[in-house]
Symmetry: C2
Amino acid sequence: MEKVKLLGTWPSPIVKRVVWGLKLKGIEYEITYEDHANKSPQLLKYNPVYKKAPVLVHNEIPICDSLVILEYIDETWKDASPFLPQDPLLRANERFWAKYSDEQVLPAVYGYFRKQGKDQEEARETTLAHLKRVEQLLNKNNFLSGERVGFLDLAFGWLADYSRPLEVVSGVKLLDEDSFPKLCAWRNKFLEIPAVHESWPDQETLIARFQKSKQTLFG
Amino acid sequence: MEKVKLLGTWPSPIVKRVVWGLKLKGIEYEITYEDHANKSPQLLKYNPVYKKAPVLVHNEIPICDSLVILEYIDETWKDASPFLPQDPLLRANERFWAKYSDEQVLPAVYGYFRKQGKDQEEARETTLAHLKRVEQLLNKNNFLSGERVGFLDLAFGWLADYSRPLEVVSGVKLLDEDSFPKLCAWRNKFLEIPAVHESWPDQETLIARFQKSKQTLFG
């Protein structure tokens, strides 16, 4: 009997990455939400190094780090909706850009939304240059992983899921249709996938939450 | 006809990670050393995102990022000396700690050697706490990947290869036998592996090089 638990925090886009992966594979799981300010003994026990979510606990054994977890899920539940292709070159490509998401694009985008005035203008160029690279990855495909949603889409899912709520609440545009036609189309397609569409928090809930914590989020 | 080229820089421990991997698998390759101050057109062409080594160029197709390259090598030349085991849990474990090497341990160790006086003392505790975790990973095994050298050993190879030269030149001890008996034993075993032992630059060359650039390295 498989027992799959996920330790999450709300509203973390990095935790949702794992949620989407589990749903895509059709894996039954149970999620517990951690409180940032008061971490549970199980979080401290299961992720003593970083003391943070997401942690996937599979038959009582913890796996930490969202991208590591996604590869674990893909290798453990091999048959349903593979995240990564078989070809080593395509696999390397998706891993490279997934790392780029977390090391370059995510901090740039979040920094951009948090900054104000001149600082924000300065951050704009770098941020848009990163996004231009992601736009180019789409080429003629519907998804970053190709014709079907895969590892790289899950890795960049935070951008599809959080960009519009952040744009709405901050009043700052990030992805406009003219500059990023492929990324905008991808965002819509990604959000329409049932595994993503059915995942809470939805876009409206995110907007309401960001609206409430606007002061903290955008200074 | 396989054509494997490696763009490297000297003396980068992150490039040597790939060198060791290629040698462990017995793959014939050609290495070109890049000049930091004057990057070659081929480096700019093959790694336009980061413009840095290592880049593995396999039949004219570039693969970037040393850990991504190692997985690519492992998946492309499957039969000889597998780096990663088959079990998804063990694979996840090695990936998690390899990331920990690059995100936590490496910057801590390098920072520690570069700092002076009180700053160095302050960095000591964090650095040793990281190394204590790596010590514990060895458990009863000879190697970080188990009984045979593997992915995690290649990832942490920089520590085996560069720690003694840095200790000798800086006069600052990092790994002492009493506090880190397993890591010290691992360092010796790792350096004795032919793929590592035969890789240039050797320990003496590293010491001589660090001696020459002592001022730049340790302020």
